[in-house]
Every structure is written in structure tokens, then in C-alpha cells.
């Protein structure tokens, strides 16, 4: 953390135990790694250009995750909290739209690729 930093906004994603009332047993994440890293770097550059962010961390896991595990962490430090909050929200929201990572929800009676079908 820099001495000039006035605030750090951290978003920690966690695996929920249910979706729309159905029990989730675990999640399986898959990434198109090279492109995922490239898209994450684009998002970071956009955030750094748009807000006076000092430090930015984006971490995403792949593989099998159990309920309560942490697939994603975003941390943003800035001199003032507005930039930290806004940039952190921007990063996680954009990551969910553009980064080629996919999650499959495993239920007791089957599995579903999230967002695949209308």
C-alpha cells in the first residue's frame, strides 16, 4: 500500500450454495487463458486511465471450487474512496462481460453452463 493511498476497495467473490433456490454443490471454472489474461489487462488499463487509481489487483481462479471458495478478488487503492469504489465496481462488472472465463454450476440433478442459454 502506498503512503499516498487513502483507501482500498476489495471485492471478494464467493461461491454461493444456491441459485434460484436450487442447491449448488460446486462450481467448475474454465478459461481461455491467453485471451483471458489479455482481456483482464485491457480492463486494468481502462480503469487506470479512467480513475486516479494507485494500485490495482485482479485475481481469478479456475478449476473446481466448493461453496464458500473464492473465484475472484479485485482490490483497488486510491488517494480517495470514490475512485477506489468506482474503479473496483467497473473492473468486476466488465470482467463478467468480456473476459473469456466460464463457470458451470453443478446441482444435485445436473449441471448448467451459466448464461449460455437465453
Amino acid at each position: 500500500m502506498l503512503p499516498e493511498s487513502g483507501g482500498i476497495d476489495v471485492f471478494i467473490g464467493t461461491v454461493r450454495n444456491a441459485t434460484k433456490g436450487k442447491t449448488v454443490l460446486r462450481l467448475e471454472f474454465e478459461a481461455y487463458e491467453k485471451m483471458a489474461i489479455a482481456e483482464i489487462e485491457k480492463i486494468a488499463a481502462q480503469a487506470l486511465a479512467k480513475w486516479p487509481v494507485q494500485k490495482l489487483l485482479i485475481h481469478h481462479r479456475t478449476g473446481v471450487l466448493a461453496v464458500g471458495d473464492v473465484p475472484v478478488i479485485i482490490a483497488v487503492s486510491a488517494a480517495h474512496r470514490d475512485a477506489a469504489f468506482e474503479a473496483c465496481r467497473y473492473v468486476i462488472d466488465t470482467l463478467k462481460q468480456t473476459v473469456p472465463i466460464w463457470k458451470k454450476e453443478i446441482f444435485e440433478d445436473g449441471e448448467v453452463w451459466v448464461a449460455a442459454h437465453p
Binding site: G13, Y32, M35, K96, P100, W102, K103, W113, A115, A116
Partner: protein
């Protein structure tokens, strides 16, 4: 030309494997690729949407495909 296609997520399930080969005319576009894939794999059309990446960048339908390109089918992403 023979093109190697990488597939992820539900696209991998639809193709039955993580990479497939597709025969395309030499000056084929992304649109042509999508069209021929959808003939062969109609389930693709039921997806909410899907993108094509060329050399790790999202491609436009009119972009031309070259034999040396790395092509991937990108179903709706769901990271985070």
C-alpha cells in the same frame, strides 16, 4: 483451407471435443465460419449468443480468417 477451432464451455460440449477442424474457402470470413459451424452443429444457434476470437481478440463477422490464425468459439462468458 483447413482451420483448427478451439472450443470452450458449452461449445466444447456441443462439439464433443475441445478442438475441431473445419474446411473453409480461402477468403472465408468469421460470418462464413459461424454459418458453416451452425449447419454442422445446430445447437450453437440455441445459445443466447456466441463470439469468435481470432488470435485472442474478439472478431467482427466481416473479418477475414487466415489459415495461420488461432480461432476460438467464445460462448457467453460467466467469470467472476
Amino acid at each position: 483451407m483447413k482451420i483448427n477451432i478451439l472450443a470452450f464451455g458449452i461449445a466444447k460440449d456441443i462439439f464433443g471435443e475441445s478442438t475441431i477442424n473445419v474446411e473453409l474457402p480461402n477468403d472465408a470470413s468469421v460470418y462464413n465460419l459461424k454459418y458453416s459451424l451452425e449447419q454442422q452443429y445446430p445447437r450453437l444457434k440455441k445459445l443466447a449468443t456466441y463470439m469468435v476470437a481470432v488470435n485472442n481478440e474478439y472478431a467482427l463477422p466481416e473479418d477475414t480468417i487466415y489459415e495461420t490464425d488461432e480461432i476460438a468459439i467464445i460462448p457467453p462468458v460467466s467469470g467472476g
